[in-house]
Amino acid sequence: MIYAVNIALLLLLLVTAASATFLVKELMSSVFILGSYSFFLALVWAWLGAVDVAFVEAVIGAGLATVLFLITLFDTAPKDSRLRRPPPPLAGVLGLPLLGILLLFAANDLWPFGDPTSPPNVHISPVYLQQSFADTLTPNVVTSVLMDYRGFDTLIETVVIFTAGIACALLLREPGR
């Protein structure tokens, strides 16, 4: 009972933080609310059992992204970081709730969470769960999938991060320094 109340409260906080992020008038406040939104999202991931994803969300979304936004905002004048929001167009006000209702309607057809007969749980997950220790001799299935079965993915991911760093240095750092 308490557990269900906790989850409902968590989802309510998540939705509140997400709406407040783009309803607030100042960009600085928006950045901080976005960081708290990432924390709530990390709690949701942890509730769903995806601890690795929760860890990354907390560290990247709430930690590094907030710092990057803040450092960018330090360089802008106060008049640029205060927003004047025009009233939303009528099509958006009417269309977005309709889209939400449509998505909720479609979500009815999804498999229930944690159903052992759902396609994601019968297609390839059992193979990983049953054979990964014999194949890779690593006790943690997540590590064996990430670094062993899909080592190339991780390698290319690292290349992407490296490229992003090089591109940022080229764009932002002035020549001769």
Binding site: D52, L64, I71, T138, L146, M147, G151, T158, L172
Partner: protein, 149 residues
């Protein structure tokens, strides 16, 4: 940001917190094989400790100099990762098949353990250097000539 923070409380607490963050980052890196975490998260936690360092102590202090020195490691992490794959090729297996790493005196589980650990270290170094590089470029791209590499 450009010089040392003038509050003694902030300095003392940072001296306490920065080594803790770095210790936690190393724990996540080396324990990531068995628990949640891994090279990516460890690199980002290390980056945040470095950001705190140069926000509090400034880039002119010895600690800030250390942060600047880390920028020279750009690409080292990628070389470590690809090097592990290359060693596996040399050992007679496929690229990134850690069983063929060829470290003498280790059994197959230990070979795989070392292979994954070294490539995680590569990922961590790459992510940490990239994060610090992006933050420093963002923080020091204005006209003040404080920042020289």
């Amino acid at each position: 940001m450009k010089q040392m923070h003038d509050s003694l409380i902030v300095q003392t607490m940072s001296q306490l917190l920065i080594p803790l963050a770095q210790l936690f980052s190393l724990y996540v890196l080396f324990f990531g094989q068995y628990g949640p975490g891994g090279g990516f998260v460890a690199g980002v936690i290390w980056t945040t400790s470095m950001i705190l360092t140069f926000l509090v102590f400034g880039l002119k202090s010895p600690q800030g100099r250390l942060v600047e020195k880390m920028l020279h490691g750009d690409g080292v992490g990628l070389i470590i990762f690809v090097g592990v794959g290359g060693l596996c090729l040399v050992g007679g297996g496929e690229f990134l098949n850690y069983a063929n790493l060829g470290i003498p005196g280790l059994g197959a589980p230990a070979q795989r353990y070392m292979g994954i650990l070294i490539s995680q270290i590569g990922v961590a170094v790459d992510v940490a250097v990239t994060g610090i590089s992006i933050v420093l470029s963002l923080a020091y791209h204005d006209t003040e000539q404080e920042y020289d590499v």
